[in-house]
Symmetry: C2
């Protein structure tokens, strides 16, 4: 579609902007733009302004580095949440995923990625020093590592673990195992192996 | 994902705007918005403004009703194109598809849809009267109907055909048949049937 002749430069540049987005090709971009063209002018302006406003006014929480409208985000400033457990994640999407489970009442720390020398991301590009400082200065009892189980995630886990070694804090990672409802024969060997090694004592609450 | 708690109202409204687009759910919308957040402010503004500008300044060609930056579009005003053949299509995307084939050197007429009583679209909602007027006032030799082969498309074809009946103009439709490279056993019966009824005399140029 690279040689497409658009009947309008305005249309072409809008399609071009949309096709810069991940997973959006030129055909999809054209479909989206033509959809917007059919909407009222006020709606199209609302769309464009929401995007511009977002970039201009968004903040990052000074405590956990999650996206926020305020200096300190709603999770970090919530009196109902305990500051003694900090869950370390890569991105804001992970925060939202864990929040959706309603199983965690502590706070978060958003690293902004994982250590990946291939992509030029070292520890200094991530919010690791601020995590260590945060753990040291507060009465943090537990740091829960919830990063990807990739080589980069494992490297980052180990790096953080070493940095926290001299501080009195329990370091845990989220459980890996067969998914709830998952069948053993369709589970990959690594996961199944981990689920046996890290088996837990059976009790009534587990089957709920 | 409807109950997602976004860490920021600005983020939420941007995600909401994106998820209004066809085929974009909330998860994809969030992915796109977070991608934009990682870009420079100038790029995000270029994105937002391209969309707003498009809606504000786009015109429709007064002759063929295609999208255009000028009063008369580049195809209608091109001296190299014949005005004696008008290809009738539903939308601007069809114009672009036919232009990509480089097989048509005439002009277009964009109806803006097809007659569809179910969706409240009658002949008056479409650019049919302007087509008839255009054919009558110019020395149009041929009107090529290139609408969808749906019930609505067929209805529209027939309606236009009746409207043009009293004007001296040849009305044709694009050929339907087995696609080039297509295998007979995988072609649907209707298409295969039409390809036999509308068979053409074999000559050397067809196999090129």
């Amino acid at each position: 579609m690279g040689n497409d002749k658009y009947p309008s430069k305005l249309l072409e540049s809008a399609v071009e902007e949309f096709s810069k987005l991940p997973g959006i090709g030129r055909k999809t971009a054209l479909r989206l733009v033509l959809h917007l063209l059919r909407q009222d002018q006020s709606e199209v302006e609302a769309f464009g302004n929401a995007v511009i406003q977002l970039k201009k006014e968004i903040k990052h929480c000074t405590v956990c580095h999650n996206i926020s409208d305020t200096e300190v985000c709603s999770i970090c400033s919530s009196p109902g949440r305990t500051s003694s457990a900090i869950c370390v994640v890569e991105s804001i999407r992970d925060v939202m995923s864990i929040e959706n489970t309603h199983q965690f009442n502590g706070q978060y720390h958003v690293l902004g990625g994982v250590i990946s020398p291939m992509d030029g991301i070292g520890p200094n590009e991530l919010e690791i020093d601020s995590l260590v400082e945060r753990v040291r200065e507060n009465d943090t009892a537990e740091v829960i590592l919830a990063l990807s189980t990739t080589m980069e995630g494992d490297t980052t886990n180990f790096y953080i673990y070493k940095k926290l070694k001299n501080i009195e804090v329990r370091v845990t990672t989220i459980a890996r195992g067969v998914s709830v409802g998952g069948e053993l024969e369709y589970t990959d060997e690594l996961t199944l192996g981990r689920s046996i090694v890290n088996r837990v004592t059976y009790n009534d609450t587990l089957s709920q």
